[in-house]
Symmetry: none
Subunit: 530 residues, 2 copies
């Protein structure tokens, strides 16, 4: 049986940008767009060109290869034509392939907030869609407040749907804008809308204000919609949008959906879902939620309780899907066994082959566990894991020793009475017994230490010439006895490879130095064979 196509529409870069505390730069948008393309969504709504400089710049270039590059915006204003509306023209003239117009479908809102007639609203909708289609772009309509509007005046809400489709819109998206609709209401209303809009023309846009954005989306799919809108990790205004990272595996793995629908997300992408989710949180510098369905660190974790022993007998009974199907891992807090096989997999990734009964494996496992209990996390710091593994296995060359380092930052007034900040670092290392001293100024203590540390590595200097520090992230962890700082450094070299190293200490400078030191060590390790 051929499956029906279900389309995934991502609005991370548009509705997700409404999240409190999130502000995307153009660089952020480009990077997240690449992630979404890897994931394989059908539509990427990149923002609202014309509304702010970031979105306008983002839409100056077509940013997608596979997904439809979609702009969001308002329908034309009442009293002018779409051809004379600068907002609509801005959308049509952008590099977007599709335009998603937001339109009101709740009579009360049209007359009180927009202060226009119900007929003018239909006219704006029709004219904007028609102008978009005439410009050879796909048109979509987000019907704002659709469910509240339908409850108040079903005939008018339905007339908005029909007007959009008649004018040539590919999709009409039913939005639960304030997030208060119940799944049973979504089912009933979608069924009634389908009577005037048969086929695959309806979408759903749900918010999580009652904790049911995912359930509302799935209820809509079961009732007949064929486009699903949501965001990565459920970011979005107020309580967030429907979480695509939760929806995708449910649609792909639960028979009630998987037997019937094809989402276009490949099995390979699905198996990297945990990685996508965490990479996105990294970009936002947020700690991933441990309890997140499918991808959270605790999603397949069982405490030594009533379930653990049964779990060891029969995983399938206690896991609703296999953790590896979404790139996550089982973790049983009583078992060391799970750890060992994961470790072997991780070692193999770095070209280190060990026998399952090699006693050094036990030692490495104990070291990793001990370090993780102190705040290290090797999940996101693969290069540090490689360095640690070589160290514990006794295969790490002795490149150089650090004698001392010092960083200082001073804010004072200069001779002209201006406020200035002077940052300086001194690093003293030994390469084969020879003391090498370097000093550097930087725009911050970590930058200064990085410059000083790499200034003179003696005979190794040429091997780190193309090493570049791309990013560093800082997180404060509540350790048992007090706060510790975890620093994650991202590095890159001329081959294009990026790697991550980690440092942990109560002192941010010590933690940063550790991560910088490990990045250089990793670079030396990877050039060892050359």
């Amino acid at each position: 049986m051929t499956k029906e196509r279900l389309y995934i529409f991502d609005t991370t870069l548009r509705d997700g940008a409404q999240t409190a505390g999130i502000e995307f730069s153009v660089e952020d948008k480009i990077s997240i767009c690449r992630l979404l393309e890897d994931l394989g969504v059908d539509y990427i709504e990149g923002g609202y060109p014309g509304a702010n400089p970031v979105d306008t710049e983002f839409f100056e270039t077509k940013r997608t290869r596979r997904a439809k590059f979609t702009a969001f915006g308002m329908t034309k204003r009442a009293g002018r034509s779409a051809a004379n509306d600068p907002g609509v023209q801005g959308l049509i003239n952008s590099q977007a392939e599709a335009v998603c117009f937001v339109a009101k479908a709740w009579d009360h809102q049209i007359t009180t907030a927009l202060e226009i007639s119900l007929e003018d609203n239909l006219d704006s909708l029709r004219d904007s869609v028609a102008a978009t289609v005439a410009a050879d772009k796909e048109a979509l309509i987000d019907c704002e407040h659709f469910f509240d509007g339908f409850k108040a005046n079903p005939d008018y809400a339905l007339s908005c749907v029909r007007a959009a489709l008649d004018a040539g819109a590919r999709w009409v998206v039913l939005c639960d804008t304030n997030g208060g609709t119940m799944p049973s209401e979504v089912s009933d209303i979608v069924a009634r809308v389908l009577t005037v809009a048969p086929g695959d023309h309806l979408g759903i846009h749900a918010h999580d204000d009652t904790g049911q954005a995912v359930a509302n989306t799935l209820a809509a799919v079961q009732a007949g919609v064929r486009q699903v809108q949501g965001t990565l990790n459920g970011i979005g205004e107020r309580c967030g949008n429907a979480n695509l990272i939760t929806l995708i595996p449910t649609l792909a793995l639960k028979p009630v959906f998987a037997d019937r629908f094809d989402t276009g997300i490949s099995a390979d992408s699905l198996s990297r879902l945990t990685q996508f989710s965490r990479a996105f949180d990294d970009r936002l510098n947020r700690a991933p939620l441990k309890q997140s369905p499918y991808v959270g660190a605790s999603a397949f974790a069982t405490k030594a309780g009533i379930h653990a022993s049964a779990l060891l007998k029969d995983f399938s009974s206690y896991e609703h899907v296999p953790p590896e199907s979404v790139g996550n891992e089982r973790s049983i807090m009583v078992s060391q066994q799970a750890g060992k096989s994961n470790l072997l997999t991780a070692l193999a990734r770095h070209g280190i082959e060990l026998a399952k009964d090699d006693p050094r494996l036990e030692k490495l496992l104990a070291t990793v566990k001990e370090r993780e209990s102190r705040g290290y996390s090797y999940d996101g710091a693969d290069a540090s894991f490689a360095v640690l593994a070589h160290e514990v296995l006794g295969t790490l060359p002795s490149y150089f020793d650090v004698d001392t380092y010092r960083a200082s930052v001073e804010r004072r007034h200069n001779a002209q009475g201006e406020e200035i900040t002077v940052t300086e670092a001194v690093v003293k290392i030994r390469v084969e017994g020879e003391l090498l001293m370097s000093v550097a100024e930087g725009n911050g203590p970590v930058n200064a230490l990085d410059l000083a540390l790499r200034k003179d590595l003696g005979k190794y200097s040429s091997r780190i010439e193309d090493l570049e520090l791309v990013d560093f992230k800082v997180r404060i962890l509540d350790g048992g006895t007090g706060a510790v700082t975890r620093v994650l450094v991202e590095s890159r070299d001329g081959t294009g490879e990026r790697w991550y190293t980690i440092g942990v200490s109560p002192n941010i400078i010590d933690a940063s130095f550790e991560a910088l030191y490990e990045s250089i060590t990793y670079k030396l390790l990877k050039t060892e064979a050359l």
Copy 2:
């Protein structure tokens, strides 16, 4: 019309204790029990007496006044009677008023995990319930894996329900143990169970592994169950249990439920829901989730975007329930797209009343936009916004000036040859012309600067005594000309208020100092009137 009673069963202290990273002491349990009594739930499941010393001690005293004090445990083992089973006797002899037995209802699990016959399983269930009822306690049965069991063998699953009720159980709770069941399946299966168990004898226990614990619970209620199990803030094994803090307001405020059911939770409790939720997180020493439905700090927050101006016209359209109904607050954030009306609302929140045509408003707006373009973000740093507003409006008292500061971190070997790190900060400030110099050591440069800065504020010292730095977060932003560092500091004082301040600079130390400085200024501002 009289409403039907819906019973709330809290398992925070039992299933919630399975959460990774959560370990309750007896003191914790006593305190959380008190909170649950204030909230007004019907059942408090306190743990498993006999399974560990904490739970055993907790059940030596009856800990509730109003709610039914409930113990959890296993049914009797096969091959002995309940009277001769020390586990069952321990439950019956505890101070619990009700006992909730976990029993398997999935044939496959009984024969493979328990390795007993299906008939023996029914016998354990019947005998354990009968012994409990004979001891004048209420008996409940948690049917583990009920939905998976029903799908595999509906007749056997139903025979477990009947056996429990025939033996005198008050409730049979249908558990979605691995959390993989869809709401539509829950509805169908509950309807079929009701045919053998009519009336108010069925409960629902859902997990959030597909993000639908709340939806599954509500679907079960709509299908006919009359007891709802869940936890505070949705803690629990893996992805957590159904979140009572989300369920309770939906049941109490959404007409589809509120018109039909009475949950026993008073309107007064409901109006303190946000407070209960945050108090619970405080007890666990966790930061409350901003996106939590109803009670999160962002649950009623709107960024100045397409919705803000409409929101100001008509709150009811953009809020699915009034924030005050659950003790939460509306917040309209200041951000890049800020307009004058948002700014006025934000100012009013800080007790600053300005006329709409006050020329200083224009100046403040320009300042906010200019600073946001440099990397500041005021939607997450309300206290910095307040300080900035007072500064621009000319109402900021001149508390103190910073002359210079210096922070240094040095890693070296001490006289014993051990590696040590010494971190020191010097801060020189002027209060009413008098120079005050302070020096402090810290476990990092920011900590040292914080300590030195707060060490001596002259006549203001007493006003910042209860100020405490709770957290600081660092993010590197890609600015136009180069990377800048954004530091967000969270502070708290004796009143329990938490506030956020921001600092931005290419230098992490300068950015941190700015945020620390603004936190102190905010604290001085808020104590100004006292």
